[in-house]
């Protein structure tokens, strides 16, 4: 009999498309991985679903809900494959996007290359209109001129237009009028207005965000329409929801309207999955480390929820260099990307220091040990020499690897460093671990936290090999290694609660607040967010509402996002709001400045509702017999030059409740968990393996 209560998760990455079907009644899931079809990504989705449903004997009619995440739009932006886009601005300000902030992301590079604007100057046109800083209108929008300029853009082949007018965050009337005119008279154009996409002060950042939205909007519309059509044709009548960059969900109509919110959709699903797996081990403050072939990604989960940032940079000119990309002011799961992966190449710098990454051998040619033409030493080569991998069974035996090639590649660095190949292999392992730890340390500290209060959750091909060492460098004692890491993001789509965020610019000091107006503004945002939630879940659960505000001391330029007490607000709420801000500020920065006045810059509302999931059945071996190691091999570990003999276990054979003591290696088809000496590991019924490190011994650097 067909299962009639299914949710379907679809995660499209640059290389693979993952499909996960989740049975609500049994909490079991089925998954399938298929190569992404870049020319029409919906094709892989449909053939993947057909394959999965056939092999798992599921019925499309049983699907109640479809949730989708994708990196397609980020990739389109990086590859500059978006629509022909035009820009309309206030007279005198069409060059804002090109003038940027006049800042260099690298101080010493005389030949610095800056990001090219998405819209060339000839397609940036101006109209007469002016709104002042207080929102008052000084010069009315000249609609005739607007009409002429839009015609000019259409003549030049523009398909999508962005409208960014000065001070529209304070008063969006002119932008709204422009949108109404364009939609009415030029229905063939897609329109994005800045007060809708990112209603925030700072014209360059707002223009950048709005242009990115306009640039990917036709692509997003076309793709989502096609996907919905194909799902319906396949017999899936359930509505499609999209995962936003901030981990919230939205319906297709909103996704088509503001697709810039989907840029980090894929990684957001990964972070939600990390939070979910950690919670199953009762871990709620987690640093999630996802180390792949080219990069490592870090996300912070606090009190069970991934942290959200309100700005990120898209399409960096220098991949890992802050400031080299386009600012995008939207809320997004906070992720940092580090140039540290299995393919990261080790070199000797002009100072004679051992450096690892950010250059990567990637999948092609790949690490030297793959013997596909790479001859530079990589992290994977070093790990192989240290004994972390079984040359016969690497990647489930699909990728043959050669220790001799790895040794030859690493030996190339001996003359420049005066170190032996084994010393270098340990060094490469140590340097890549420190670069991940350093990035994590700054990232966590910028949020006012201490890494030692977190648990590390490791995923990706490299996470389990490096996790314990990275943890030790951060002073973290516990490491969680979840099951099913290969399709975690797609699973994350189904286990995440539905969430919708809304925000508005306010810019008002707390003293002298018009409390009625503030309450009305919050209530309007709450109504809007609740309406979207209701559509998303098509069930009558009342969402949980939370009020937040971006606040600062008067005179500061950066805000602290502060959770506020629930409404309704009156004069008597002032004190509670002030105290909430002072607490939040002290938590991040410690010291209070000698200033008393506080202002609210942006108000935010978050509506969440549980989608009803949260259970997950994981198949574990059910045996009382103590598992035997499959084999054992010598492995070199941090702090010790001499190899130790470590037993090697197959993860699939380990029963719940099992305890192991390091050194030990636990192998899965896609990764190897390295348990250092003195550490203990425990297999939980949740499917997670928990590693506990011994008390720190400080002399074990590097």
């Amino acid at each position: 009999m067909a299962v009639m209560n299914l949710s379907l998760g679809i995660d499209i990455g640059g290389t693979f498309t993952d499909i996960v079907a989740y049975e609500h009644d049994t909490a079991r899931f089925h998954s399938h991985k298929i190569l992404t079809t870049p020319e029409d990504p919906s094709q892989a989705v449909v053939s993947g679903i057909e394959h999965l449903f056939r092999t798992a004997r599921l019925d499309c009619a049983g699907v109640r809900r479809v949730v989708h995440a994708t990196t397609l739009f980020t990739n389109a932006l990086i590859e500059r494959k978006g629509a022909a886009t035009g820009l309309i601005t206030t007279r005198g300000f069409r060059d804002t996007i090109e003038l940027r902030r006049e800042h260099k992301y690298e101080l010493y590079d005389l030949f610095i290359e800056l990001p090219h604007p998405l819209v060339r100057r000839a397609l940036r046109l101006e109209v007469d209109e002016r709104t002042l800083a207080d929102g008052s209108i000084e010069t009315r929008l000249d609609e005739n001129e607007l009409r002429e300029r839009v015609r000019d853009l259409i003549t030049a082949g523009v398909e999508s237009v962005a409208v960014v007018l000065l001070h529209s965050y304070a008063n969006p009337a002119h932008e709204q009028a422009a949108r109404a005119l364009i939609e009415c008279e030029f229905p063939q154009l897609q329109v994005s207005i800045s007060s809708d996409v990112s209603r925030q002060l700072r014209e360059y950042e707002r223009t950048s965000t709005t242009l990115v939205n306009a640039y990917i909007k036709p692509l997003a519309s076309g793709y989502l329409d096609r996907l919905c059509g194909k799902l319906a044709a396949a017999g899936i009548g359930a509505p499609l929801f999209m995962m936003l960059s901030n981990g919230g969900l939205t319906h297709v109509a909103e996704a088509k309207r503001v697709p810039v919110q989907l840029l980090e959709s894929g990684p957001a699903a990964g972070a939600l999955a990390a939070a979910f797996f950690a919670a199953r081990s009762d871990e709620h403050n987690v640093l999630a480390l996802d180390m792949g072939g080219t990069t490592a990604k870090l996300a912070v989960v606090e009190n069970g929820e991934p942290l959200v940032a309100y700005r990120f940079e898209a399409s960096r000119e220098q991949r890992f260099m802050e400031g080299s990309g386009m600012p995008v002011d939207i809320s997004t799961i906070e992720l940092i990307e580090i140039g540290a992966g299995g393919g990261s190449i080790a070199t000797v710098s002009e100072l004679g220091l051992l450096k690892v990454g950010p250059r990567s051998a990637g999948a092609r040619p790949g690490p030297a040990c793959y013997r596909r033409g790479g001859d530079e030493p990589t992290v994977t080569d070093a790990n192989l020499l240290l004994g972390c991998y079984d040359a016969e069974r690497f990647a489930a035996g699909t990728v043959p690897i050669d220790p001799t090639a790895a040794a030859d590649a690493v030996a190339r660095l001996c003359p420049a460093t005066g170190m032996s190949a084994p010393e270098l292999a340990r060094g490469i392992h140590a340097v890549v671990n420190e670069s991940m730890a350093a990035a994590a340390r700054v990232h966590i500290a910028e949020r006012g936290h201490d890494a030692r209060n977190f648990t590390l959750l490791v995923t990706g091909g490299g996470g389990p090999v490096h996790g314990c060492e990275v943890a030790r460098r951060l002073g973290i004692m516990r490491i969680v290694c979840p099951p099913a890491a290969g399709v975690a993001s797609a699973l994350g789509l189904l286990v995440a609660p539905a969430r919708v965020d809304r925000s508005a610019s306010l810019m008002h000091s707390l003293g002298g607040m018009d409390w009625q107006a503030l309450e009305a503004a919050y209530a309007a945002l709450e109504a809007d967010a609740s309406a979207v939630i209701a559509q998303t879940l098509s069930m009558a659960t009342a969402p949980q509402l939370a009020r937040l505000a971006d606040m600062r001391f008067v005179g500061q330029g950066y805000e602290v996002v502060t959770a506020l007490p629930p409404g309704p607000y009156t004069e008597s709420t002032e004190r509670a709001i002030r105290e909430a801000f002072e607490r939040a500020y002290a938590a991040v920065f410690g010291r209070h400045p000698p200033v008393a006045e506080i202002e609210l810059v942006t108000i935010r509302v978050r509506a969440t509702a549980s989608a009803g999931e949260g259970q997950l059945a994981v198949g574990l071996t059910n045996t009382d017999a103590p598992p035997r190691p499959r084999t054992s091999r010598p492995v070199v570990l941090a702090g010790g030059a001499a190899p130790l003999t470590a037993p090697v276990y197959d993860r699939a054979t380990l029963p719940a409740g099992l305890r192991l003591v390091g050194p030990a290696l636990i192998e899965e088809p896609s990764s190897t968990l390295l348990i250092p000496p003195g550490a203990s590991a425990m297999v939980q019924a949740s499917g997670n393996i928990i590693v506990t490190l011994p008390e720190a011994d400080s002399a074990s650097m590097p």
């Binding site: 902030r101 101080l107 001070h167 220091l353 350093a438 700054v442 000698p594």
Partner: protein, 541 residues
């Protein structure tokens, strides 16, 4: 690990990475807690860690060149007045002396000694540009440093964790915007606290008893890398001469760069004497900007610390405009100092044009304003803008980029929220990039109107407004267009202070960058793109 132990390439890389993450973290905290747009929008600050003697280990990645090497030097000067035995845990020292600091009064350097087990092991230091320092507003017009504001000699401003109320009251009374100035100072203190905590944590974790060995290793390696880069240049003397707008009359700067084996000696002999206006450069600033030019041209990848600077000697005659004597005013030193790295590049350009860039439409431009608002409260502030970047063998110059400094512009929407101005435009200046195979970057033009209810005092930093001071092209490229400052449509002397009435219109036109290579070699496609996008005038080559 003993302090004298050798550091292998792995240990050193790991520790160095850690130290850089500490100063970068402090820089992020300073930006987020500061009050003035100078720090948070324009990045006009630096964070540094030194050893116990005041020699730098690391400097925050994003620090602007004027602070290269200045903070450690300032700390060593402060140490002369406050030797280690006079310092306690929780003390903070400060100064804005222009000869001990960075060459002008608004930059306040603060330093905090770091003690471990009772022994002084290092200093956390920051320098930040205060939004006001009293005196006349910043202007090239001042004649003596006394006119330029409050001078803070090396002083202990926090005693074992307790801020010195006498000092703070004195400071507040002397500045126009005390909340912003003191707010930023506290943000600097917070950055110091953070560096102290992190360094002590690192030393505990690594069982380091001091930082001297690490400092020597870091500086030694950086020095060797710089020497290697210098040795790759042919020995010889490379010369350059530059004319700047000056004050009332142009100023001549002369440079002779001698490469000998693995060292560089730069001598500014023949440069004009100091003048009775605020465009004089203290030697600390001359050194910082000259060294920046050498490092950018020869060794851009070496981290920012004093070791890399050791092979570079810089000299200027005492009493010249590049090595001023008290009480010379220096508030507008950037309008001369920013020429120096370009002079280094242009001296090298004759022999190695492909290693450098054409003239940049720098120095940095700035508008300062002061007055009172409708409620009779003092207002004061400033914002920065930049000119076009120089073209190079690889590409056109960027249209408007901060160089050699790295000072961001302030958003127009932010300025209109905070200051009594309304902007009519901020746009690229068509046709201002120097011609060449690669075109120089365009300058920009701003037109703004005073919306103040009464008169406003304004002054500028502005340069390259005389045709002979235009940013030169190299390898056959043409010069960028000179800049201009106009009030109500009439050109004015940008070095003087002006008082403008409500409704007055101020226009700033920054210079373009120089071109690279002969214009005849520019590709037809690039010419056509320039025409379509209006980067060049329609009639132009």
């Amino acid at each position: 690990m003993a302090a004298s132990a050798r550091f292998d390439p792995v240990t050193l890389e790991v520790l160095w990475t850690r130290l850089i993450s500490i100063v970068d973290e402090a820089a992020a905290a300073l930006v987020r807690t500061s009050f003035s747009t100078v720090v948070r929008e324009s990045n006009d600050f630096a964070c540094v860690l030194t050893d116990a003697r005041g020699y730098s280990l690391v400097q925050a990645t994003d620090s602007i060149p004027s602070f290269i090497g200045t903070v450690p030097r300032t700390i060593r000067e402060i140490l002369k007045e406050y030797p280690p035995q006079t310092l306690a845990v929780g003390d903070v020292l400060a100064t804005n002396d222009i000869w001990l600091g960075t060459g002008h009064l608004p930059d306040i350097t603060v330093a905090k000694p770091i003690f471990r087990n009772g022994a002084l092991v290092g200093f956390a230091g920051t320098v930040a540009h205060a939004p006001d320092i009293g005196g006349r507003i910043r202007s090239a017009d001042s004649r003596e440093v006394f006119e330029e504001g409050l001078q803070i000699p090396p002083l202990k401003v926090v005693h074992a964790g307790t801020p010195d109320e006498t000092f703070l009251r004195m400071l507040r009374k002397n500045v126009r915007v005390p909340d912003l100035v003191v707010g930023d100072l506290f943000a600097q203190f917070a950055a110091l606290d953070l560096m102290e905590r992190r360094v002590l944590g690192l030393m505990d974790e690594q069982a380091l008893s001091d930082l001297a060995g690490l400092a020597e290793e870091i500086q030694g390696r950086s020095e060797q890398a710089m020497r290697k880069a210098i040795r790759a240049l042919p020995d010889g003397v490379y010369q350059h001469e530059t004319i700047t707008d000056g004050f009332e009359r142009p100023i001549r700067l002369r440079l002779a760069l001698t490469v000998k084996d693995d060292a560089i000696d730069i001598d500014y002999a023949g440069t004009d004497p100091q003048v009775g206006r605020a465009i004089n450069v203290a030697m600390c600033y001359t050194y910082a900007y000259t060294a920046y030019g050498v490092k950018a041209a020869l060794c851009p990848g070496v981290p920012n610390n004093e070791g890399a600077l050791r092979p570079i000697a810089v000299r200027a005659p005492l009493g010249s405009i590049l090595n001023s004597r008290p009480p010379a005013a220096g508030g507008a030193r950037a309008v001369v100092g920013h020429f120096l790295p370009m002079m280094v590049l242009l001296a090298l350009a004759r022999a190695f044009p492909e290693r450098v860039i054409a003239g940049v439409g720098s120095p940095l431009w700035c508008l300062n304003y002061a007055g009172v608002d409708a409620a009779d409260k003092s207002i004061a502030g400033m914002f920065f803008i930049n000119g076009g970047y120089g073209a190079s063998a690889v590409r056109d110059g960027a249209n408007v980029l901060s160089w050699p400094s790295n000072i961001s512009s302030t958003p127009i929407e932010m300025i209109e929220q905070l200051a009594p101005f309304k902007f009519l435009h901020r746009r690229l200046r068509t046709g201002t990039g120097g011609n060449g195979r690669h075109r120089g970057g365009l300058g920009q033009e701003l037109l703004l109107e005073s919306c103040a209810t009464g008169p406003l005092t304004i002054s500028f930093l502005a340069e390259r407004t005389r045709p002979e001071a235009a940013a030169p092209g190299i390898a056959g490229g043409g010069p960028g267009a000179p800049g201009a400052v106009l009030i109500d449509g009439a050109p004015v002397d940008p070095k003087r202070q002006h008082v403008v009435a409500p409704g007055a219109r101020i226009e700033l036109r920054t210079p373009g960058g120089g071109g690279y290579g002969p214009a005849a070699e520019r590709s037809p496609a690039a010419r056509e793109a320039d025409r379509i996008d209006g980067y060049t005038a329609h009639t132009g080559v």
